[in-house]
């Protein structure tokens, strides 16, 4: 077992993990953060995309031990005080989801794009989402939603707001016990 300390959606967790534990399984099975789904499990589909130290990653292709000392943001950490980000709102309003399975990854990848390129063209949106598959083939509305979010905000806020998440900050073990405030 290897000791890790990782901040997820604003909360610091200390844990002993097997080195082979994938970040996505750590998030889902140990921390109960099931907002990040496992899709293809082969690094292709992007459903499990989260942010690690400021950049999108496929959490099925990162070991939990590699996130030691790092800061993870999942789709569950985006809303602040229950208020969605412009990107989340745009996905809702533009009907950018059908079954919804790819949605967390799509939002995390789109967030990444808008941070680097606040005013993308639709071609650039498609390019940026090349690693995220929607098997309902709802791409048309996903692209519309990302463009709408970009238009609605200045870009900085579309991509970045409320990285700290909606949970209270604190330090917890995997069992949920807070160890420091």
């Amino acid at each position: 077992m290897t000791h890790i300390s990782v901040t997820v959606d604003g909360t610091v967790y200390e844990d002993e993990v097997e080195p082979r534990l994938l970040l996505v399984h750590y998030l889902r099975d140990r921390l109960g953060l099931t907002g990040t789904p496992v899709g293809c499990d082969t690094s292709n589909c992007g459903a499990c995309t989260v942010e690690l130290d400021g950049m999108s990653v496929k959490s099925c292709t990162v070991l939990a031990v590699q996130a030691d000392g790092g800061e993870v943001t999942t789709v569950q950490g985006l809303a602040r005080d229950g208020a969605w980000t412009p990107l989340q709102r745009a996905f809702h309003e533009r009907h950018a989801l059908q079954c919804g399975y790819c949605t967390p990854g799509m939002i995390m990848a789109a967030r990444d794009l808008l941070r680097e390129n606040p005013h993308p063209t639709s071609g650039e949106v498609r390019q940026a989402l090349e690693g995220n598959l929607c098997r309902c083939t709802g791409y048309q509305n996903i692209v519309r939603a990302v463009l709408a979010a970009a238009e609605e905000t200045t870009g900085e806020t579309a991509g970045q707001d409320s990285a700290a998440g909606d949970g209270a900050s604190g330090r917890r073990t995997a069992s949920g016990q807070e160890v420091t405030a």
């Binding site: 082979r20 690094s43 950049m55 099925c60 292709t61 990162v62 070991l63 031990v65 590699q66 690693g131």
Partner: protein, 284 residues
């Protein structure tokens, strides 16, 4: 899919990493960004006893100049290679090809050194390293040594690196005024190349004076399209480029798999060489 169990160590220094690798011998695997190794572990195609995470060793990340050579740290991520001003200026082929590797999330984690050391014949960057005449610097118990890209790729997933050696940097001769283009053919946007062609072209007096062509997935290792390179010297128009590209598959050993036959791969190599050289001749 759950990877098989392994022991894990994260050395803080290069010396410690080399010592750990020397002790573990063939049973260890080096983990950099993990974008090739983790899929292999998950699919249970690799069963290392020990995974040596070199990802946080200082000094192996970033790009600098050493005289007229570009020195790229092995841990430099694809994302950082794509955006690096020195790479874009002096090794534009590498920046453009790296931008086609996988997808943005993979490029955030995957590293140049990891991609070269993994030596997948369908990987994009080995052929680019070959075309650019890169030197790969390894550190082992005996010290540092430099291996030309042409000698680094030994066989399918095999390199000149010994089990106790670590790739630490990639040295690329700076090239200005050369046109470049990486062309690849794949089924979907983030999948592996069926065939890829890395072209560098130097023009003089309205003709191609010199061309360097690296081929991806036309054999167990990346290859130079030597016959096409020779035929391209002096080419002055698209017809001459097309004729020269006709010899792009000479001397290659393309494999057969679910996505393509050797004959189809040879066809792709010719077509993509023509496209890459024409594009490169226009970007110089």
């Amino acid at each position: 899919m759950i990877p098989p169990a392994f022991d894990y160590v994260r050395p803080d220094t290069l010396e410690e990493a080399v010592r750990v690798l020397a002790e573990a011998g063939e049973e260890a695997k080096v983990l950099a960004g993990g974008q090739s190794l983790l899929p292999l572990l998950r699919l249970r195609l690799a069963f290392p006893e020990l995974v040596v995470d070199v990802g946080r060793i200082p000094g192996l990340r970033g790009v600098r100049e050493d005289g007229d050579t570009l020195v790229i740290g092995a841990l430099t991520t694809h994302h950082d290679v794509v955006h690096d001003p020195l790479v874009r200026r002096y090794a534009g082929l590498l920046a453009q090809a790296t931008e086609t590797v996988a997808d943005p999330a993979v490029r955030h984690r995957g590293t140049l050194g990891g991609s070269l050391a993994h030596a997948d014949p369908a990987g994009d960057l080995p052929a680019v390293a070959l075309a650019l005449d890169a030197e790969l610097v390894a550190v082992g118990p005996g010290g540092r040594r430099s291996v030309p890209a042409g000698e680094f790729f030994a066989d399918y997933l095999q390199t000149a690196l010994a089990p106790d050696e670590l790739l630490v940097e990639v040295r690329v001769p700076e090239r200005e005024g050369w046109g470049f283009r990486y062309e690849k053919f794949h089924r979907v946007s983030q999948s592996w190349a069926m065939v890829g062609v890395a072209a560098l072209v130097r023009r003089a007096d309205g003709r191609i004076a010199e061309a360097r062509i690296g081929l991806t997935n036309m054999g167990p290792t990346p290859l130079r399209a030597t016959a096409a390179e020779q035929a391209l010297a002096g080419a002055a128009d698209p017809g001459a480029v097309a004729r020269a590209a006709g010899s792009a598959a000479e001397g290659t050993r393309p494999s057969r798999d679910a996505s393509a036959s050797p004959e189809y791969r040879a066809h792709l190599a010719r077509v993509l060489t023509e496209r890459a050289v024409l594009a490169a001749a226009g970007t110089g």
